[in-house]
Symmetry: C2
Subunit: 244 residues, 2 copies
Amino acid sequence: MDPNVIPNVSVDCVIIGYDLQDISILLIEREMIYNDRKYVDLKLPGDLVRWNEDIDSSAHRILFDLSGVQINNLKQLQAFGEVDRLKEEPRDMEWLRSIDHPEERVITIAYYTLVSLDLIHSQKFKPNPNARWVPISKIGKLAFDHNRIINIALDTLRQEIKKNPVAFDLLPRKFTLSQMQKLYELVMGTCFDKRNFRKKIAQIPCIVPINEKQVNVPHKPARYYMFSHDVYEATRKDSFDFLV
Amino acid sequence: MDPNVIPNVSVDCVIIGYDLQDISILLIEREMIYNDRKYVDLKLPGDLVRWNEDIDSSAHRILFDLSGVQINNLKQLQAFGEVDRLKEEPRDMEWLRSIDHPEERVITIAYYTLVSLDLIHSQKFKPNPNARWVPISKIGKLAFDHNRIINIALDTLRQEIKKNPVAFDLLPRKFTLSQMQKLYELVMGTCFDKRNFRKKIAQIPCIVPINEKQVNVPHKPARYYMFSHDVYEATRKDSFDFLV
DNA sequence: TCAAAAGTGTTGGTATTACACCCATGT
DNA sequence: ACATGGGTGTAATACCAACACTTTTGA
């Protein structure tokens, strides 16, 4: 066991992405032989916290090691500390033994982050070969209590996206209003009227149209918009107050 | 050092109360001699987590030991895990030594709870003799990072009270609309128009007037209201949607 | 010329704000 | 009788929900 880590405290990260089609989570594939059968499970990226790092720093380190890039809009979700949270599934316990983790109690602190297509497609983004983007509709039973953690992350995103301009962390820097609307619809699980949606956007000063349109699309090309952080800071009242 | 506890993980509890005048926090007085001077500091109630209890159970245990009653509307806030969070103030470190806490890193998980006057005044409520209710306007510098934790608890309350019927955890079972309005004003830091406030309340089915009025008040006695959990469950849509 | 998505206004209903006076009680 | 907080209505405005057709492009 690595002497640099606190053996009972870990950090797990829910990395949420939007590829203009689906909302997906970046998961780690875990292969193991158990009772002579091969299992391929998925889990959240995570690690034990080191003695000399803040828990926020652990989360940053985990993301950097996973992706090769510094990701900074990281938010803490909450801690998960049931005594038996790692012990429901015998396979999970066997896996802990296999990575030389003492079969002890681990309290985990979950973080989540939103990453945009721009980042994912950038040269620097070199995810760990075991990492997989999995659309949330296709996530099966994960290791440990990781399904629960993801659900709480998505609930939190649902709350956040209504009140704070976090959608722009998921969208590319230049986006069309339809892309934005679809994102909101996926996150909130509802549909919006196109005209009413656009009317609302038009009143938000920090979402600014730019002089650029889609090219090579087999329909009327859509205008691009971008989010202006400057304008947002200069004009925000108390909350973004987007969609009730 | 108690072998039953995880030495690096604690729980701290922010206990919020409303006495119809002020919002107060229940704090623990810590007396110590340091450099030949006597110090009386205040801190949040908290303790290390035991190996055999969930973190939620730690929080319940801390509240029970402190107050003598079972308190169950307890919500996790978040974890605080900076490496040096206990080490800013030499006096705090000295105190840790004095209670035989190894001078190690402690990650704490903060919880908060709302308690009503009814509970506080009940026979069973027998707080620890070192416990003090301190109005939030009169809280000075606390031990460790406990000011920060309280501020985050109050922010969270501010969010919650807008969307969920948590005000009724702070109010007595029977309350007047003015008492309720004052609570909202204290929490949110704003004033409301009395008539508009009451109009809004009248539309919320789960806040029901009862056939009872104040007695012995030197003014027109106010009607009492109560919160009906049944009606709330039966009529709630998605959120309480109280005051933007 | 067709398919596919972009883009655009009006109306009726609902919710929100601002505002001032009389009432019931204890002292 | 007076001080104290309780209780009530209206009008102007802002916001929200529902709804259908024309436009631009690539194939």
